[in-house]
């Protein structure tokens, strides 16, 4: 996914080292973006408790995702296995943005690399809120739904809409050179086929 394979991807730890002192500023910007996109205050930030909790503070911007994913969204009932086992309770449903927006190579898109921070946050927020509201019963379906729906948010800036449209086109075209290259391995296909063949057992 790195558009420039010679550039090592930054870890969440690197990003926290470099930008950690900007937490308040980044939080304020994320709040501004969420307000602009019409995200209700009650859905800005996630509060989870328990050993499987990943977002405990309710902050709209976090350095706590290792590795960074861009952002997260959740609501009660989305992780029944952990919730039933008492390992997780979602106290506040919603979305957040993480340090992935500080990574030029989070998405293999020139438009993402060139986008400013506010635009990248718009992109993530639009995707996360689309997943959050998606009626899909599986996470993969909701992710696909968000790829289709996110760019339709009428409050998006033109720049953010452009990145989301590029993101959609990338998914449709299969234009990910790193993944495309990896698919050429017959051995990988054999490994996955061997697992898939067990369906017949």
């Amino acid at each position: 996914m790195n558009p420039n394979p010679t550039t090592p991807r930054m870890t969440g730890l690197d990003l926290a080292d470099i930008h950690g002192s900007r937490l308040a500023e980044l939080g304020a910007l994320a709040t501004e973006v969420m307000d602009r996109l019409g995200i209700p205050k009650s859905q800005q930030g996630i509060v989870e408790v328990g050993p499987a909790a990943r977002d405990a503070t309710g902050a709209v911007f976090t350095f706590d995702h290792e590795p960074p994913q861009g952002g997260r969204n959740t609501r009660p009932g989305r992780q029944p296995a952990m919730e039933r086992a008492g390992r997780l309770e979602v106290k506040r449903s919603g979305i957040n943005v993480d340090s992935g927006v500080l990574d030029d190579n989070l998405l293999p898109l020139e438009s993402w690399r060139k986008a400013d921070l506010a635009t990248r946050m718009e992109v993530v927020v639009a995707h996360e809120i689309a997943e959050f509201h998606s009626p899909g019963s599986t996470g993969q379906w909701r992710h696909a739904d968000a790829l289709v729906q996110a760019a339709k948010n009428p409050r998006l800036s033109a720049a953010a809409r452009g990145v989301l449209e590029d993101h959609f086109r990338l998914a449709v075209a299969g234009g990910d050179p790193t993944l495309a290259g990896s698919l050429q391995s017959a051995r990988i296909h054999q490994m996955l086929q061997a697992v898939a063949n067990r369906r017949g057992q």
């Binding site: 790195n2 991807r9 590795p67 996470g139 993969q140 289709v148 790193t178 990896s182 051995r187």
Partner: protein, 151 residues
């Protein structure tokens, strides 16, 4: 759920696994990653970080796959598997790791543990996108014709 979707592989402890993080410490994880690379062809291998970077509290960046980070934390490996398409390389790695450790695979996306068989997508991710895009276009077309009819 998120922009970059991940799976977790490892020992989750009771009631999910009899084994715990103590059975799969960081040193074992690195040894298993090296074993994996010795087993598969070059284009299926993970890029192991030497030295690893991190902490027990935040997790350890141990490797990369398809230019995404793999993080080890408390007996569990977090590995990205879905962005704009499935990473077959990552799925193959996760399947191998589960078989090697006889451990669990947890999907935050699905909110449950997956069997190795469930790990392998039944249809290309693109098919889901196309289906949803068609449905979305159809809904818009219907809405548009209703507006015309009502005007």
């Amino acid at each position: 759920m998120s922009f970059v979707h991940q799976l977790q592989v490892g020992y989750f402890g009771p009631p999910f696994d009899a084994r715990t993080e103590a059975d799969f410490p960081l040193a074992n994880c690195l040894a298993v990653l090296r074993e994996y690379n010795a087993t598969v062809p070059a284009d299926a291998q993970v890029t192991i970080r030497e030295p690893v970077k991190g902490s027990d509290a935040r997790g350890w960046y141990v490797a990369e796959i398809d230019a995404h980070h793999i993080v080890y934390k408390r007996g569990i490996v977090t590995c990205p598997y879905l962005t704009t398409k499935y990473s077959k390389t990552a799925l193959a790695f996760i399947a191998w790791l589960q078989a090697r450790l006889e451990c669990s695979i947890y999907s935050e996306d699905e909110g449950r543990f997956l069997t190795p068989v469930e790990l392998v997508p039944k249809t290309p991710f693109l098919d889901q996108i196309v289906e949803l895009a068609k449905a979305s276009t159809g809904a818009l077309a219907t809405k548009s014709s209703e507006q015309v009819a009502g005007s």
